[in-house]
Subunit: 345 residues, 2 copies
């Protein structure tokens, strides 16, 4: 009994008067064991408070029961919600969850993927920031998807979402001067993240505005890093609001950016929604209690996490080998109309 004072299967076997093999079979419920001995082994295990050493088990079996979840930022409400939902599904399916944080950095992502690999995770849920390399285990991408890589991807329907926002501003409020503040299109290494949430949203904004037959001057497009919390957003919003010909509406590609814009507008004495309509892609926490309540897209964060986890679990069950081509699932978004767009509520 050298395992840090903890009993091993050998101790259990001895206590039950059987061999390790038999004890192992009895505990795992595999192979032939007579009911009587099984009972004896179980009793011994209970008595000794035996807990199998997962490390040894995993080593022998050649794979752990751990799944890695790679997040750009656990601190953000979005990723926290995704994580929570994913974790529920994974634990229900018998997997343990190893969470790592990349701090929205490709370098950290690479390092973390490396350690996950050495921990022999059997699968991966990954929101990439550009550091992705094939880890050699079934991988489901979420939020930011590397097209064709991994066994599947789950992302928000960025295109449809931005169209909802722009159309609402144009059709229901008659705006013709709409600006956009979005997340950056590249990561800290200057590479574009893969499916490019940022780029996708920007393109979607462009085509939505174009399809509405509206002009889109270059100065109406800004991107800002979300990493610096509100500061970047404030700076970008400031530039936009100090323009000679100010936009009458702003679409924010992210909740943090929307809130930063809101703050800046206040500071500059620009009233929302009277002087400026504001809509946000992401729903800020407690959006309805904010002044003014922010019109935004309900994102179903949990749904995204759940779907991703389910895809992974399904693949692991089937013994996925990445043979079938990776497909990207799109999670739909709903417009939640509140006051910041100018709707009377």
């Amino acid at each position: 009994m050298t395992n840090g004072g903890r009993p091993t299967i050998a101790d259990v076997a001895a206590a039950a008067g059987v061999s390790r093999s038999t004890a192992s079979r009895a505990m795992a419920g595999s192979g032939y064991v007579s009911p009587a001995t099984r009972e004896r082994v179980w009793a011994a295990a209970r008595r000794l408070a035996f807990e199998p050493n997962e490390l040894a088990r995993s080593l022998r079996v050649g794979a752990s029961s751990a799944v890695g979840v790679v997040l750009p930022d656990v601190g953000s409400a979005f990723y926290a919600a995704v994580l929570k939902a994913a974790q529920e599904v994974l634990e229900a399916a018998g997997y343990h969850v190893l969470v790592v944080n990349t701090e929205r950095t490709a370098a950290r992502e690479r390092a973390e993927l490396q350690t996950l690999r050495s921990k022999r995770v059997v699968g991966l849920l990954l929101s990439s920031y550009g550091g992705y390399e094939d880890v050699g285990v079934p991988t489901v991408f979420f939020d930011d998807v590397v097209p064709g890589a991994g066994i599947a991807g789950v992302a928000l329907d960025n295109g449809a979402g931005l169209r909802l926002l722009v159309d609402h501003l144009v059709r229901d409020h008659g705006h013709r001067h709409i600006a956009y503040i979005g997340p950056p299109e590249t990561n800290e290494e200057g590479q574009a993240p893969r499916i490019f949430v940022g780029r996708e949203r920007l393109e979607a904004f462009r085509s939505a505005v174009g399809d509405a037959g509206l002009p889109l001057p270059a100065r109406f497009i800004r991107t800002s890093d979300e990493r610096g919390f509100l500061e970047g957003a404030r700076a970008a919003a400031g530039e936009l609001l100090r323009l000679n010909e100010r936009p009458t509406a702003i679409v924010a590609g992210t909740d943090v950016l929307a809130l930063g814009t809101l703050e800046t507008a206040r500071e500059l004495g620009v009233r929302v929604p009277e002087d400026l309509a504001l809509v946000s892609f992401d729903e800020p926490p407690y959006a309805h209690l904010i002044d003014p309540p922010v019109t935004s897209l309900d994102r179903h964060d949990a749904e995204l996490g759940r779907r991703a986890a389910e895809l992974l679990v399904g693949a692991l069950r089937r013994g996925a080998d990445g043979s079938r081509p990776a497909q990207t699932v799109r999670v739909p978004l709903e417009l939640r109309v509140r006051r910041s767009c100018g709707c009377p509520l």
Copy 2:
């Protein structure tokens, strides 16, 4: 090379023309290895893209390099922030982080602690919901602390915090009818969580009000589960606001409860802060953008996580054996005065 196609140390050794022992020493940098062979081994390892199998290493060494972090709810902003800060410290110190979610449930907590034990984590950061049993590894409690257990505890200074809130209402605004809505004092099994964040805050509220020489009718005290999100809060607030002799101020023991109270007040046409002052123990996300901005305590969530992680890392470095008595560190809180208390801003 049977390790899922991945090279093992034996492969590296063979490629470098040395024994496994030597290869191991070269990689680990321990014991005697001549510079020349070390270089050869490293080269071979690089060439083969060797990654040590953490499972095997941990098994042999008798301990993993993983630390467990047990949270009641990853989805909550508070715990997410704590996790993020703790993770930073732990990873910097070379530990991997295993996150588990107890869903604010003693039963889940017990189950999760069990699996963490079988994964041979070397340490634990634990916010208990009552399911705690000694896991046999150095444990630092945070937020809700089991007195005397583990090697240390880090908690908010609930007493001082509530005094700040009550004193502000009494001294600066002259309130004499102050009610309290707090989190429950027991968990789902009817047991009190250990240090009893809920109980501690309630007691602190009681004595702060008592010390101010104010009466405190029993009907001014409500507790409500935070698990049901805003619903419980709304119900409790509703009861309070429909009283014949309504309180003139409410202290919420939690941000969710404050926001629920705010919603209910709106629905009932009670204006905050004109008809009702509201202060919150926890700071809601983007408290300053809420209508009205919520006066609350700045919690330094990250500080709490960082301190807890640092205490654990320190103990692990020193080879803690729980010999010295566990001490509870209190993280200070600051009052952030905003509009909901009635201050003109």
